[in-house]
Amino acid sequence: MNVNRQEALEYMRKMVLIRRFEERAEEAYGQGRIGGFLHLYIGEEAIAVGAMAAMKPDDDVVTHYRDHGYILARGVDPKVVMAELYGKTTGVSKGKGGSMHLAAVDRHIWGGYAIVAGHIPLAVGLALANQYRNLPRVVTCFFGDGATNNGTFYSALNMAAVWKLPLVAIVENNLYGMGTAVERASAVSDIFKKAASFEIPAVQTDGNDLLGVRDTVRTMVEMARAGEGPQLIEARTYRFRGHSMGDPQRYRGKDEVEAAKERDPIVLWRRSLLESRLATEDDFRKIAEEVEAEVETAVRFAESSPDPDPSELCANVLVPG
């Protein structure tokens, strides 16, 4: 395997962190401490972790609303992410955005956006700015299979292709957009084929295979950086939880979900690390303990942080001056 022990453990730690972070967020939602929409990434962690490992720290990221994984994989402190979910003033977006609107511009995370496909043109524009300013940065844009049925996806990628922009579109095909199975909403179920209409390079990859994701993203990001224009990756995966909280999931059977869990990306990674003897059960225990403490700290921080001051209501509407 093309990975050293330190990297291997770090990838594991990040996936487990995202998983435990979200399980705790789910609990907090049940207690009424988090409100509105909460879209869990559980089952899809290998994509964010693999992709972030493949990119440079100043490569730009624009995402949809299922966005806890990316910001945690980029290494932003879980405390300020959890505080955002709680709507606290210490949150990354000062409690004004919530779960769907996480941004950490100092880490080149340009935000989670909740209008399906509405953020893809923003990624095109960021890539244009990078190209214009001769910055060697690539923009990655994450969205779901459902977003590729929206016209904005086509107009944005077409533009990126015409202008040969340094952009990598990463489609997380988790087989559903809310309750609509991909084949009920998309004329082609292999989403990467849609890229053919722009004649841009596109590949399909197993989104639950961490190294596969990392290496695919690395290849495509470096092609984009080398001036070869936009690229598209379809990472096939599965969402283990409902679309958001309180989804009765009438559109799929329990056995389908259980079968998908056999390919849990964390389980797969663990198995390959044990098989290749890069890590031991002890390593995993240690990671689990560390993550547990880190997530506990994040929850405590969120709980003990103050609500935004009422004066915040009217702040940030326009840039002053």
Binding site: G35, K96, G98, G151, S186, P310, L313
Partner: protein, 323 residues
């Protein structure tokens, strides 16, 4: 009369009209197998099948454009936009096609279309908590209904489905669970007719949708102090029936508009202008407006709680108008 929820009243209207007229069909995101994100279309897919209750891709412009085309082609589509926020994706279709086609082709083509969509909020963040009724009410060629009770929702939706014109039918997510009396059996209510929901002599409150209930709650409180508010429910925002409000102002000499939207360029601005022009001689004070704070809606619960008019704010404003 049976007590049923706003949600069930809307579903009953859809169901009755689908039974009555096989040209009526429903299309939208998650309206079928899921049963509607707010469960409004629950069981309709089972009852009427996939030919008449159609799940669509996430493609609002194409959903509304296709619904307009289907209406032109002889069907009576009821398109659902999952929330009013996503109407922005379909705005060109609504503004440039739905509202113009009949006029632009000299009356040759009809667009008997209903677009159902809920406004609402609840820690959903800035892009998912909006109320654009004034934008739609701005448009000649479109009818805009925004009912506040189960009875009105059912009666108006049935009329909207039978209408030969495009109707934007704006529901409210926070009203779906509200129960109210709904007549048994067949009835319809006319579009473009306002309704007095409470009589009073001191102040006229003009409102619609969820704010109707906030206004009624405030009126109840104020009645304990001997202040009697007359509450006018517009029910339809275009065409706008000012008759009941005009009559009311003759008696009360004061009017307050309560809306959930931002007040700048909102419904209240239009209503205040009309009352100011047509009932100038009867007014003892300028027409007042109350709406949401002029900022995008924040996620944090404590900040969001400061956003929208509540009963106390309405009551305070009425007291101030009388003092």
């Amino acid at each position: 009369m049976p007590l049923i929820t706003y949600r069930d009243a809307i579903r009953d209207a859809l169901r009755e009209e689908m039974i009555r007229d096989d040209r009526v069909l429903i299309l939208g995101e998650e309206v079928g197998v899921w049963g509607g994100t707010y469960a409004v279309t629950r069981n309709l897919h089972e009852e009427f099948g996939g030919k008449r209750v159609i799940d669509t891709p996430i493609a609002e412009a194409a959903i509304i454009g296709a619904a307009i085309g289907a209406a032109m082609g002889g069907l009576r589509p009821v398109a659902e936009l999952m929330t009013i926020n996503f109407s922005l994706e379909a705005m060109d279709q609504i503004v440039n096609n739905a509202a113009k086609i009949h006029y632009m082709f000299g009356g040759q083509i009809k667009v008997p279309l209903v677009i159902r969509t809920p406004a609402g909020w609840g820690q959903l963040g800035a892009t998912h908590s909006q109320s654009f009724e004034a934008w739609f009410a701005h448009l000649p060629g479109l009818i805009v209904a925004m009912p506040g009770t189960p009875r009105d929702a059912k009666g108006l939706l049935k009329t909207a489905i039978r209408s030969e014109n495009p109707v934007m039918f704006i529901e409210h997510a926070r009203l779906y669970g509200l129960k109210g009396e709904v007549p048994e059996g067949e009835y319809t209510l006319p579009l473009g007719v306002s309704d007095i929901k409470r009589g009073g002599r001191d102040v006229t409150i003009v409102t619609y949708s969820r704010m109707l209930h906030v206004a009624l709650g405030a009126a109840e409180e104020l009645a304990k102090e001997g202040i009697e508010c007359e509450v006018v429910d517009l029910r339809t925002l275009r065409p706008l029936d000012m008759g009941p409000a005009y009559e009311s102002v003759k008696k009360t000499h004061r009017a307050l508009v309560v809306e959930e939207d931002w007040t700048t360029c909102g419904m209240g601005a239009e209503i205040a202008a009309r009352i100011g022009r047509d009932r100038f001689d009867h007014l003892d004070a300028p027409v007042e407006r109350l709406g949401q704070v002029e900022v995008p809606v924040p996620y944090a619960k404590n900040l969001e709680a400061l956003m929208f008019p509540d009963e106390r704010m309405v009551a305070d404003r009425v007291r101030k108008m009388l003092s």
